[in-house]
C-alpha cells in the first residue's frame, strides 16, 4: 500500500500533471460560474461550500481518470496485478495517493475561490478541514473503485462520471452542508448528524472498495 502511494506521489511530484490539470479545470469552472450566474450574487458565504464541492466534483473526476490512465499506459496496471500484494492494499494505496492530490487541489482551490468570488463575512473554523477531509475520503473511495473499473472499458471518460455521480449524491449533500458550516462558523451541533453521515459513507465505501478490488484488478 505504501509502495503504491510513494510511487504515485513520486510521479505526480515529477510531472505535476494531475494537480495542474485539475486546478486549471477548476479555475475554468469558477469562470463559468461567474459568467453564467451573476458574480455579485455569489458573494454570500452560504454559497461557497456548494460551489466548492461542485467544482471539486468535476475537476476531481478528471484527476481520478488521469490517475488510472497513468496505470493503463504501457500496461503497468497488469504489473500491479502480477505483484504478490493483496488487491485490497493496491486499492488503499491508490486511494491514498488520489486523496493526497485531491486534498492538495482543494487546499489551493478554496482560497482561490474566496479571492475570485469576493466572498465576504467568512468565519472559518476547525470544522472546515474536517469536512473537506471526510468528504474527500468518500469521493476518493468511490472514485478510485469506479475509475479503476471504467479505465478497463472502451468508454472510460464517459463511464466514470456516469457511475460515480449518482453514488456521490449523499456525499455531496452532506459535504457541501458541513463545508458551508465550517466556513460560516456555524456551531458543530448544527451539522453533527451530517458529519456522522459522512463518516458512515467513508467507512462503508472504503471497506467495500477494499473487499471488492479483487474483482476489479484483473482484466
Amino acid at each position: 500500500m505504501w509502495q503504491i502511494l510513494r510511487k504515485d506521489l513520486r510521479i505526480e511530484w515529477r510531472t505535476g500533471e494531475i494537480l495542474s490539470s485539475m486546478l486549471l479545470l477548476s479555475l475554468l469552472i469558477i469562470l463559468v460560474f461567474a459568467f453564467t450566474l451573476e458574480p455579485s450574487r455569489l458573494r454570500g458565504p452560504e454559497f461557497l461550500g456548494g460551489l466548492l464541492w461542485a467544482t471539486l466534483l468535476f475537476s476531481g473526476t478528471l484527476a481520478l481518470n488521469r490517475s488510472f490512465l497513468l496505470e493503463r499506459e504501457s500496461g503497468a496496471w497488469s504489473a500491479l496485478a502480477l505483484a504478490p500484494i493483496e488487491p485490497g492494499s493496491i486499492y488503499l494505496g491508490k486511494l491514498l495517493a488520489n486523496l493526497v492530490v485531491l486534498l492538495a487541489g482543494a487546499g489551493v482551490l478554496l482560497p482561490l475561490m474566496v479571492l475570485l468570488l469576493g466572498t465576504r463575512g467568512l468565519q472559518p473554523d476547525a470544522l472546515l478541514p474536517v469536512s473537506l477531509i471526510l468528504g474527500m475520503v468518500g469521493f476518493a473511495a468511490i472514485g478510485t473503485l469506479f475509475s479503476a473499473m471504467a479505465s478497463g472499458t472502451r468508454a472510460r471518460e464517459v463511464l466514470m462520471p456516469l457511475l460515480t455521480f449518482p453514488f456521490l449524491a449523499p456525499l455531496l449533500i452532506a459535504a457541501s452542508r458541513t463545508t458551508t458550516a465550517g466556513l460560516t462558523g456555524e456551531p458543530l451541533e448544527a451539522v453533527q448528524s451530517w458529519l456522522m453521515l459522512l463518516g458512515a459513507f467513508d467507512l462503508v465505501f472504503v471497506v467495500a472498495g477494499w473487499l471488492f478490488f479483487d474483482y476489479v484488478l484483473e482484466d
Binding site: 472499458t153 463511464l159 456516469l162 453514488f167 449524491a169 452542508r177 459513507f201 465505501f205 471488492f212
Partner: protein
C-alpha cells in the same frame, strides 16, 4: 445446460399459473381502484394512484436488492444464471422506478401544484434511477465480456450499500426545510376497509407482475447467452 433428454419440459407454474394469477389479480386491482374503493377524504380521487405507486416503488427497490443478491451469487460461483437474473432484476427494477417517477409526478401535480418537487421519496427514486441506468449502461458496453459482467456484479452490490446512506442523507436534507406540509386531518388516510383490501390486492398483483417480467427477461437473457455459445461453437467447428 442440463442433461435432460425429454423433448418437452413442462413448467406449469411458469407458463400457466404465474401469467393467469398476474392477469387476474391485476384486473381485480384495477376494478377495485377505479370502481369500488371510495375516495380518500383529503386528497380525493388523486390518492387512488397510490395503490400502484407505493407498490411499484417497493418492487423496484426489492428488485435492486435482488440485483445485489444475484451479483454476490455470480461473484461466488460464476454461474451465468445468476448473471442473467441480476440483469433481469436491474432492467425491470429500472422500468418500475421510471413508473414510480411518472406516477409520482402525476400525483404531485394536483396535490402540490407542481410536477416535480424535491420530496425525499422522489429524490431518492431519481438518484436510484441514475445508479441503475449507469449499471445497465455498463452492461450494454460490454456484452459477452466476462470482465464487464464482473464489474457490473461489483456495482450491483455496492449500489445497494448506497441505499441506506442515501435514505438517511435525503431525510436529513429535506428535513431541514420541509417543502410541503400535508394536512394532519384525522379523517385522512386509509380509513375504509376496502382501501386496505385494494392496497393488498394491488400489492399482490404488482409482485406477481414483477416476478413474471423478471422471469421473462431472464429467459431471454439466457437465450441470448445460449445463442452466443452456439454461434461460437459453430464457428470453431
Amino acid at each position: 445446460m442440463s442433461s435432460k433428454t425429454e423433448n418437452r419440459v413442462s413448467h406449469p407454474w411458469r407458463d400457466a399459473a404465474l401469467p393467469l394469477l398476474t392477469g387476474g389479480f391485476m384486473l381485480a386491482a384495477l376494478i377495485m381502484i377505479f370502481f369500488v374503493v371510495p375516495n380518500e377524504k383529503v386528497q380525493g380521487v388523486t390518492q387512488r394512484i397510490f395503490y400502484f405507486h407505493v407498490h411499484l416503488a417497493w418492487m423496484a427497490f426489492g428488485g435492486f436488492g435482488f440485483v445485489a443478491i444475484a451479483s454476490a451469487w455470480y461473484l461466488k460461483t460464476g454461474s451465468p444464471r445468476a448473471d442473467q437474473l441480476a440483469l433481469a432484476n436491474a432492467e425491470v427494477g429500472l422500468l418500475f422506478t421510471t413508473l414510480v417517477l411518472v406516477t409520482g409526478a402525476i400525483w404531485a401535480r394536483p396535490i402540490w401544484g407542481v410536477w416535480w418537487t424535491w420530496d425525499p421519496r422522489l429524490t431518492m427514486s431519481v438518484v436510484l434511477w441514475a445508479v441503475y441506468a449507469a449499471y445497465i449502461m455498463l452492461r450494454r458496453l460490454g456484452r459477452g465480456d466476462e470482465m464487464i459482467t464482473r464489474y457490473a456484479a461489483v456495482l450491483g452490490i455496492v449500489g445497494v450499500l448506497n441505499i441506506p446512506i442515501l435514505v438517511l442523507a435525503i431525510r436529513l436534507w429535506r428535513g431541514v426545510h420541509p417543502a410541503v406540509v400535508i394536512s394532519e386531518d384525522p379523517e385522512a388516510g386509509l380509513k375504509d376497509p376496502t382501501m386496505i383490501w385494494t392496497l393488498v390486492i394491488a400489492g399482490v398483483a404488482m409482485a406477481l407482475l414483477f416476478t413474471w417480467l423478471v422471469s421473462l427477461r431472464a429467459r431471454f437473457a439466457a437465450i441470448d447467452d445460449e445463442l452466443e455459445t452456439l454461434h461460437l461453437e459453430g464457428e470453431s467447428r
